[in-house]
Symmetry: C2
């Protein structure tokens, strides 16, 4: 795994988007130059960690000075790949799916929900948040045609595995899974799980133990 050249910790990627968030905030406050300490002030991350993380990708700051907020923002976006727009498919327009459809935060990050699918005849054809809900039966043409590579999956637990397999045959490479099941998919498909119940259980555990 340790790729001789440059091994980048998994955790670094997650922190990069936090840095980005902080930089956006600083940008809005018209701050032009910020030190690693300024950037991490409102995150639970040390300045050293930020510098270490950035060092995997290059040198973006100026010693004795700090980082140019705009420039670093751009660089991190380039690293993450969100300097260009990514089209997302949303599958399953239940309560959670609807909430995701309405979430304004995505667009700001160059993440754009391009199509929405459901199998409920009542919903199909209707529009929400300016996005038309399509019949899941036509998922293949649509996703292939639009060249979508990332999907958010908010269908019921029972259909999640089946639908996810279908997504893979459509050419989807990454899935953000909101269903409380672990998807068994080919190893070249990257799945990330958002599991509310699991998060709460961890909180309960920590609460009970006084968070060691």
């Amino acid at each position: 795994m340790h790729d001789a050249k440059k091994y980048i910790p998994q955790e670094t990627a997650k922190r990069l988007s936090l840095y980005l968030r902080s930089l956006r905030r600083l940008g809005q406050e018209k701050v032009r130059i910020a030190s690693s300490q300024d950037i991490t002030r409102f995150l639970n991350i040390s300045p050293v960690q930020l510098r270490k993380d950035l060092s995997y990708f290059g040198e973006f700051g100026r010693r004795g000075v700090g980082y140019d907020v705009d420039l670093l923002k751009g660089e991190i976006e380039k690293i993450l790949g969100t300097d260009v727009v990514w089209k997302i498919a949303l599958v399953g327009i239940g309560r959670l799916g609807s909430a995701l459809l309405g979430y304004k935060g995505f667009r700001e990050f160059n993440l754009q929900i391009e199509v929405a699918f459901d199998n409920d005849p009542v919903k199909i054809g209707k529009s929400r948040e300016g996005i038309k809900i399509e019949n899941i039966a036509r998922i293949k043409e649509t996703i292939a045609q639009k060249g979508i590579k990332i999907a958010m999956l908010s269908v019921s637990a029972v259909s999640a595995q089946k639908v996810s397999e279908e997504l893979v045959t459509c050419g989807i490479k990454s899935i953000l899974n909101f269903s409380p099941v672990n998807l068994a998919l080919p190893s070249d498909i990257y799945v990330s799980n958002v599991d509310m119940a699991s998060e709460l259980e961890s909180l309960v555990y920590k609460l009970k133990r006084g968070f060691s």
Copy 2:
């Protein structure tokens, strides 16, 4: 940090709820005895990892045999603390909050949304999913009176910090935060963040890099 007696990795707690999920599934399939391999088959976790995780808490299996599904399920619930019901407060009944209110998964895990709060006069007093939405102005009495220790926060980014501080003064000890801001709170308050945009950014990054 390393508490001489018994140090338990952070990650272990998160995996415990995955094991639980797997055990529930096996239980539904009427499986009585399962090996560490059976339990981890549909998770991306190795059997050794499961055994190691369990070893921090005791010995629950029988060598040469495996684990009693029901028994292990009970033990893990005891470890996590979800063998008893935990009352949860939900603050912010927007689109996401509504989805959370309707999420059936929680109750199954002994997590019960006990009260919901919002500041929108239109919503206050109405009931959703059998839970009455209360005025956030009365948050203090209600939470203190009911002895609630855990809150889910799904308010807007701008009010998240302020509301979370209020929650702390009410006696809330753990917060599951859905707002895309890092909450600055006393160190004895445990905050866990669910950040959809951030998760997607990580997916984009991995997709771009061919997930190293």
